[in-house]
Amino acid sequence: MTFSIPLVWRGGRQAGVVTLIAASIATGATADSPPLEGWPIGRGGQNSQVRTLELHDAEADSVVVHAAISLPEMSDHYRARAEILADVLSQGSEAYPRITVRRMTGALGSPLRGFTTPGTLHLRAEVPVDAWDNALMVLADALRKPLLEDAAIRASIEARTLVEPTEWSKALVGRRYDWASVQPREIRELAQAILRPERTLLVVAGAHEPRSAAARVAARFAGWTAGPVRRWTFDSVQRTWFPQGRYVDLLGRPFDPRNEWPVACVAALALGGGKDSTMFRVVRERHAWSYRQEAFLQMEGNRWRLRSVVQQAPGTEGPDAEALRQALLLDVAAWDESTLKRALAMARLAAWGRVPSPLQLGSSGRADMASLVGRALLAALWFENTGELWSADEFADRCAKVKLDEVKRWTEAQLKESSGRIYGATGSPAR
């Protein structure tokens, strides 16, 4: 797949990559929004505009419209409510009831859907090319005039209480939100706080007419003014998952991806990408400690962390976190140019979605770079996290400039500074 449209970027930040059309009216402050607890975050009557990223793909046979709403720093209590809000937003708005939403956005089996990743609430649909403006209309109305009726909120809450995540997801996410305590009033208040133009990044990706997105988005969101918000507080109560397996988990220090993403991505792929990675060779093949083991970059808003997780059968004894750390460090010390060469080959594959990305999006799994829907999501998060426009070629090229010594130093520092924990099978909760 090639992107053939030159970059047009009117937002002040220039990525210099010939992949994306980025038409922006970046008047709102989003990256440094104050914490929710430190309200007011909205000033009432503010008329800032939605920012737009356009990702044109002439070979696609669909269009994805994707709204990414940046969230303030939140406690788990608020995150639970944000998840409910995301879901209910997709269930209809003042102008478009649920059945109409599904009819107007569901032709490809990917109707309007809301979900969250750490730091961001998402609402997206994938539709046929000739239907994307209608989908945008539905999405805009969902954000501007959400219904948020009690019945829909309660149904969403009830559905969540029944969901049993996968064993792996339980271990990675750890938290089990206290859904039953969520009140519809809280969802409406949260919506008022975070559904605001200055927090919204709109991605239009696919085979639409090039350079047409910004004008359509501007039209659909014209006159969107968010009202003032008021302060409120909650007590936070949460439960934790108890995965069946035994998990050994090393969590590295948070780092700023703006400066470190190339070396971090190469390191994560050398450590955990593919079947010749350190995790696979050492943890699985050498020690038979596990069948599934992964190392990845956990995206937590605009901070990322290197995480290494080993999944074991219940009742397994050892290794402890320190033994895992030492085993990995021993292998990292032996990394050579052939290790780097393999990791860079994996980076090229990851850039185009042929192997799992090194980027973990909260409970949503790895960034999916193979699908249009996944690339639209990644474009939004990549921009918000790194300040750069996502480009597969740029990703591979920047990774290729990373030196072996740099990767080894970075990985060793991350592993040495990581916190280790064991949880799961014996009744201990996930983190």
Partner: protein, 405 residues
């Protein structure tokens, strides 16, 4: 709503050009047409080579399929194929480094009907995959220590098996009894494997008549076909072919302590029958009625089950399957008709999906093609769809209630 098998979503979404499928009647690579985008060849020994030219694809996918028709498992050998797959995929221990450094990935899967090794390569590097396949066909030298080591790894795999897979396996057992053994196996049975038994299993499983090789991507049809045919000729020669009784499924209801959730399964008679596709369309339509429910389906030449289930609750599906009103059926018809075709179309978009689906059909029945399944779904009438829905009824299908956990 997962369907097991690769999703076929690759970075290239180039559509396969619809065209004529050329078949060499006998012999190798006869009757080739350089203008044809795909070529199917049957070798004299009975193996099949499919090469599909996908000019816009950004990768070449090479899939080796080995039918299990001569190596049916019993309770005492249950899982030996799975164990062999693990050992073969590790090669000499350096296989993955060699491949990944060149941008090639290898995955392996064991199904009831076949074993699958898939290489995804940058264009022009499919020859590397061929080299490694030659090694796979040549055989391997497992040791007692290596087997024990692999079983220690597999203990972790077994302990954390996915809920949907466990429900689907329970449906198979309920429908077909011991003939419905899953491809996973048991650790107890696997611990009985020896280096000699695994080498014998390899010779029978990878005997030339049991093989299908599919190459999909920007490749030259004739040259690639010639290489592939020559490659398969290096496979072990067949021993005694075993005749087996066809599977016969029975409607039933079971409570299974090995899993949690609920499933309804339709017993089908293979992809050569229209009814199989009616049931698939019905399952896909039913799954849209219940959020987070799944459909499990692997195209099969033999009798099989199409499973619709959920692993978050153990009630609700039966009431839907048995209580559909005429309006419900009419509403679901269009959904099933579209989703059934869409599933196949999505697979056939990418080289990985083509290599998966064409190989899965060809290794079980030389002349079978996924396009035949698409045509069967396209031709499905409302009355036939209703028949597909009824196949999930409690009196005709299999009901599994997972009472574990």
């Amino acid at each position: 709503m997962p369907l097991f098998g690769p999703d076929g979503a690759g970075p290239s979404r180039a559509l396969v050009v619809a065209t004529v499928c050329l078949m060499a009647a006998t012999g190798t690579a006869q009757g080739t047409d350089p203008g044809a985008p795909r070529l199917r060849t049957e070798t004299e020994a009975g193996s099949v080579v499919w090469v599909e030219h996908m000019p816009d694809a950004k990768e070449v996918v090479v899939s080796l399929w080995a039918s299990s028709r001569d190596v049916a498992e019993t309770p005492t050998t249950h899982g030996h194929r799975h164990l062999m797959e693990h050992l073969l995929a590790r090669g000499d221990g350096q296989l993955d480094r060699r491949l990944e450094t060149e941008g090639i990935t290898l995955t392996a899967q064991t199904f009831r009907f076949a074993m699958h090794f898939q290489f995804r390569c940058p264009p022009g590097k499919e020859g590397r995959a061929f080299q490694e396949i030659a090694g796979l066909l040549k055989g391997f030298e497992p040791t007692k220590e290596r087997i024990e080591h692999e079983l220690r790894i597999m203990r972790h795999e077994f302990a954390l098996r996915d809920g949907a897979e466990a429900l689907a396996a329970a449906a198979w057992r309920a429908a077909f009894g011991q003939r419905g053994l899953d491809a996973w196996g048991t650790l107890t049975a696997m611990s009985g494997a020896t280096p000699e038994s695994l080498k014998a299993l390899h010779r029978a499983h990878f005997a030339e008549p049991n093989l299908a090789l599919v190459v999909a991507g920007p490749v030259d049809l004739d040259a690639t076909t010639a290489q592939a045919v020559a490659l398969l000729a290096t496979a072990p020669k067949p021993g005694e072919r075993l005749a087996s009784e066809p599977l016969a499924g029975e409607a039933s209801r079971v409570e299974d302590e090995a899993c949690f959730g609920e499933a309804r399964a339709a017993i089908t008679q293979g992809f050569a029958r229209d009814e199989t596709h009616w049931a698939l369309a019905a399952a896909l339509a039913l799954a849209t009625e219940v959020p987070r429910s799944f459909v499990s389906f692997v195209p099969s030449a033999e009798p099989a089950v199409v499973t619709w289930g959920r692993d978050d609750q153990r009630h609700g599906l039966g009431a839907i399957a048995d209580g559909l009103s005429p309006n419900d059926e009419a509403r679901l018809f269009r959904t099933g008709w579209e989703l059934g075709q869409a599933w196949y179309a999505n697979q056939l978009r990418s080289p990985a999906g083509v290599a998966y689906l064409r190989g899965l059909y060809a290794v079980q029945s030389r002349g079978a093609k996924p396009e035949d399944s698409v045509r069967r779904i396209q031709a499905m009438t409302f009355e036939q769809f209703k028949e597909g829905l009824r196949a999930f009824g409690k009196d005709r299908g299999v009901t599994v209630v997972g009472v574990g956990r």
